[in-house]
Symmetry: C2
Subunit: 368 residues, 2 copies
């Protein structure tokens, strides 16, 4: 009963062999197919988690997803904004497991950090392809951390970008961005611009910030393009929002996962009747929604466990084909499923006797 451990080095091997662009393209395609075909066999509760202010402010959430065909995937995702400065670690650090829902066996444990970045980029790519104006060429990125890299990557696969305008309240994050996206080979240089210029020029805006609760929005509703499409990626907690409410009031709002978006996404800011079709609805009814391209639109991306499930299965299929990953036996299972102690040395053997000689007195005698 083996568990596949996909280490960071294994994952690096997969990405290196497959190539970042091919992986993103496949992820976009698989995710779109899953949105079309798999939502009927899925059970996805809104995520739950612990939030705390000590020892440092943070959030640790679990995002489970049950496919009735016999699989449970659960991502654990930490959000610790002090990670980069204090520990040199990503703000979003994550691990993901996949269990066999026939036996309860843990099939896989793997990194969820890169998968989160990739699938968040892929989801925005799908929303943007459906909702952005035809001929959109200018992307604005508000917040230039790790998620901005994969936003640009995902969007670059579906939009013929001519300009990328970037802004971050941390000048270091903005100034290092061009270097970080160099591997994408985009043949354009991201331009650090004032926020006013970004919102005035961008056809598509993606927001991925660590704005604190009640400190949004992260850009003004001023001189926006009439057709602007926004991917609102950062809001993921009650009170944390990035998009101006006046824009939401006139935009088509498309949540990834409606119940969760109402609790912790941009949908917190509007009445229920203002919320439009979900991303899955949109994929299924794309023709009917074509008019939306000319209007302001907001993809409210809080993160959906289906996306993680699809990303994990994609990476696993490549790992399997490439023979990458180690298998270990983690679960305790003896030859007799009713005997948890099978094969253990009986009391009275040398080991046990030695231990007893070393023991402090037990709190109660064990009888005869």
């Amino acid at each position: 009963m083996e568990t596949l451990i996909l280490t960071a080095a294994d994952l690096r091997g997969v990405v290196t062999e497959v190539g970042l662009d091919r992986l993103m393209d496949e992820l976009i395609e698989r995710l779109e197919n899953a949105l079309l075909e798999r939502t009927a066999t899925l059970e996805v509760p809104a995520r739950d988690g612990f939030s705390y202010h000590s020892p440092e402010p943070g959030l640790l959430e679990w995002m489970p997803c049950h496919d009735v065909l016999g699989r449970v995937t659960c991502k654990f995702v930490g959000y610790h904004p002090r990670n980069p400065e204090a520990r040199g670690l990503p703000t979003i650090l994550s691990t993901i497991g996949c269990w066999d829902a026939t036996s309860g066996h843990l099939r896989v444990i793997a990194d969820g950090t890169l998968l989160t970045a990739l699938r968040t980029g892929a989801a925005s790519a799908i929303a943007t392809r459906l909702l952005a104006r035809e001929g959109a060429v200018t992307l604005g990125l508000v917040g230039c951390g790790a998620q901005a890299v994969s936003q640009l990557h995902g969007l670059s696969r579906v939009v013929e970008l001519r300009r990328v305008l970037i802004h971050d309240i941390d000048p270091r994050a903005a100034s290092s961005f061009a270097h970080r996206v160099a591997p994408l080979g985009l043949h354009l240089r991201p331009e650090v611009v004032p926020l006013d210029e970004l919102v005035r020029e961008a056809d598509v805006i993606s927001t991925q910030t660590t704005v604190e609760v009640d400190h949004g929005p992260v850009f003004p509703d001023r001189n926006l393009r009439p057709w602007v499409h926004v991917n609102a990626v950062g809001s993921d907690f009650p009170g944390k929002t990035e998009v101006p409410v006046t824009l939401l009031d006139r935009a088509l709002i498309c949540p990834d996962f409606r119940a969760q978006a109402i609790r912790e996404g941009e949908c917190q800011q509007v009445a229920a009747e203002r919320i439009g079709p979900s991303l899955a609805d949109l994929v299924c009814a794309r023709e009917k929604m074509a008019h939306a391209r000319a209007e302001p639109t907001v993809f409210d991306s809080t993160g959906w466990a289906l996306e993680d499930d699809v990303a994990l299965e994609l990476v696993l299929s490549h790992a399997k084909a490439l023979g990458i990953g180690a298998r270990v036996e983690i679960e305790w299972a003896s030859e007799d499923p009713r005997d948890p102690y099978a094969g253990l040395p009986p009391r009275g053997t040398a080991v046990e006797a030695k231990q007893r000689a070393l023991d402090i007195a037990p709190r109660a005698a064990s009888g005869m």
Copy 2:
């Protein structure tokens, strides 16, 4: 940023070196201390999970536990009653992870199957030591599967047992029990008896069955000892109960975790005002509760995440001292926490070019 993988073989190494009895004694002591001292710094939501009837009936639950000092433990536990016959696997199969609540880093992944058996036995031992009649000597076990082994083990460490009466509706489970508990070295032989005899003779009864929803109770309220203490271990799902309601109506009922017991334990069967102190309350007020030893008492054991946390930390402390366990890097973390793609080969390298030559046409061009 390493994760400790404690394999089944590693765990076997720990148990072999430490000894089963010492491990159980230490677990009982640590759990009792945790009930006394740690509940104030704990955040334990009632467990959640998926239940299903296809492909086979089962349940996969997660049991998270946050210690505000900076640790999150989460056990995944599957309950699949067809596992023993269909797959030679335990009904309860489980894995457990522990995360650093400062950074979101996965510290440990380990088996939860043996830990579940051990900690469930330890919890019953603590309840029995507090609630059973002084001088109790006869134990009755209803249900002789894997959990019965560790129930007997735990109880044998706190009660001077003279007789162990056992019953199972599956004769194979009953007849193989003596062999399975031989490693405990108890110097008594479990006696397979009719259920009526078991309930008439036992000072302490533990129930650990796979009774189906709405098919309880698993023993009759007939000629029970006036001082009988019951450890009700099996009920862990809405509608699944093991104890006769007439006994609950006159007994002191002690839940491990009140909110969960009301939803899925024996406490489902009684009004809220009939529910007595929790196990933690009992440990803190043991003198005041001494009168209960002469009365019927029921420990409603649904399983509490604190127990798993304590069991994991005990095993980890021994593994560390013994130098057991392998460390691997699972999480994707590059030198630059803002650069998820750091160190990956840039587009246009040989690997990427080769891949592109093999690719199907991408669904959208990437621009310049």
